[in-house]
Symmetry: C2
Subunit: 246 residues, 2 copies
């Protein structure tokens, strides 16, 4: 394997790795096409979902946690598979202290720090949240329904005064279809009992870290017959992603 980060002229080249393409989830391509073990070769930090759209993954320090639709949290095994996931090798970044910020306010702070909306970036927030509102999708079985139908059956979770970590990404809008444009954030509580795909939150106090990427490496499931054969309606896919991921 090539390393995910390369030294070029003494400078670290950073790479955001993605297995799968978001638009392919829209018609229901939820088959796991990469093992978690293989995924972790490309990074130690990230987000994703398991085969069948089984819950929300949050990856920290090389450990993959799943928050399932019952709200339960467990560590995922290396031989389980993902239809879609993002990972990167995290490098320590300056910590930006933030207090009393809503999810919208935190996103604005992150964009101001980024100084651009044209790069892919990783977001990490460690802190205390006065409220955290998440969701996790229900696992589906074959024949898989569409992403939109799956989103209708998701479960939501609420917590107050909870410590934990946000992991996720900012992606420029021109890559919508491959990725969820804008912010895509997952949460895991410090005690590993609550988490999921973030709907909204209020941060009481915490540290924000941002890392930008030189490279976006899109790895496609080239051996999955369903992936190869499915016809994508690009416009419909964009609309359904916007609906399901927000």
């Amino acid at each position: 394997m090539a390393a995910n980060n390369e030294f070029v002229g003494g400078k670290v080249m950073t790479t955001l790795y993605q297995h799968g393409t978001l638009a392919l989830l829209v018609p229901g391509l939820f088959t796991g096409t990469q093992t978690v073990g293989e995924l972790l070769k490309h990074g130690d930090t990230g987000i994703g979902t398991l085969e069948g759209l089984d819950g929300e993954l949050i990856i920290m320090d090389g450990i993959v946690y799943q928050v399932n639709a019952m709200g339960q949290v467990r560590v995922v095994n290396a031989d389980e598979t993902v239809p879609f996931a993002n990972v990167h090798k995290a490098h320590p970044q300056p910590k930006i202290a933030v207090e009393d910020a809503s999810s919208d306010a935190l996103k604005q702070i992150a964009l101001k720090e980024l100084k651009t909306e044209n790069l892919f970036a990783a977001i990490r927030v460690d802190g205390e949240f006065s409220q955290m509102h998440t969701r996790a999708v229900l696992p589906q079985t074959k024949p898989y329904p569409t992403l939109a139908a799956t989103a209708e059956g998701q479960h939501e979770f609420n917590a107050t005064n909870i410590k934990g970590t946000i992991i996720g990404y900012f992606s420029p809008v021109i890559y919508a279809g491959a990725v969820a444009a804008g912010f895509h954030l997952h949460f895991l509580s410090e005690d590993h009992v609550m988490g999921g795909h973030i709907l909204d939150f209020d941060l009481a106090k915490g540290n924000l870290q941002i890392e930008t990427f030189d490279n976006f490496n899109l790895h496609l499931p080239v051996h999955d017959p369903d992936f190869l054969e499915t016809k994508i309606n690009a416009k419909q896919a964009m609309r359904d992603i916007a609906k399901a991921e927000n």
Copy 2:
């Protein structure tokens, strides 16, 4: 540097490398942000343009040829720079014999061979063309105009009964914005006197080779202030790309 192609489980992993993102050409970001020497570390075959949108590049066997707006062909030096280019490490592929095919017919044959519209693929055709119709854009100087304005000043070239090579790519429609969706093909005559961005052709007799990619590696010009600061109107970019690249 990591190799552009990796062996995984005894199998070659193929990668399409791209420097820059097509949507950023739309508002006129034509500054060269990668040297040709650096580009060639990621592949020996491909297409692109030089700083200022100076002509059409076609890359074969590690040599970069430029067709300028006067229709002249020359070999490009390693220290010249590109705002946008695609390269890959070409592997020998089965040769598909094709006779009497228009450009539209050849694209249909390529899609039939691909058996999918969801993967990135390289296209190469070596053959005799009863007619070849190309264009090359005029070099621009700062302050750069928009891509649409540049396309209006392009020069077109026609040749009949000409031998040569087509190099280019097929890209799935969901990645429009990052890339030109569909086919994006350049031509160079065997005697190196005619070429450019292909508008249409008739192939008398030739061989088609197709190579699909496991990975699409998008490398962004993260140190270019103009790239970082420019606001992209994603919808407008899509429309202007469709106009300028076809």
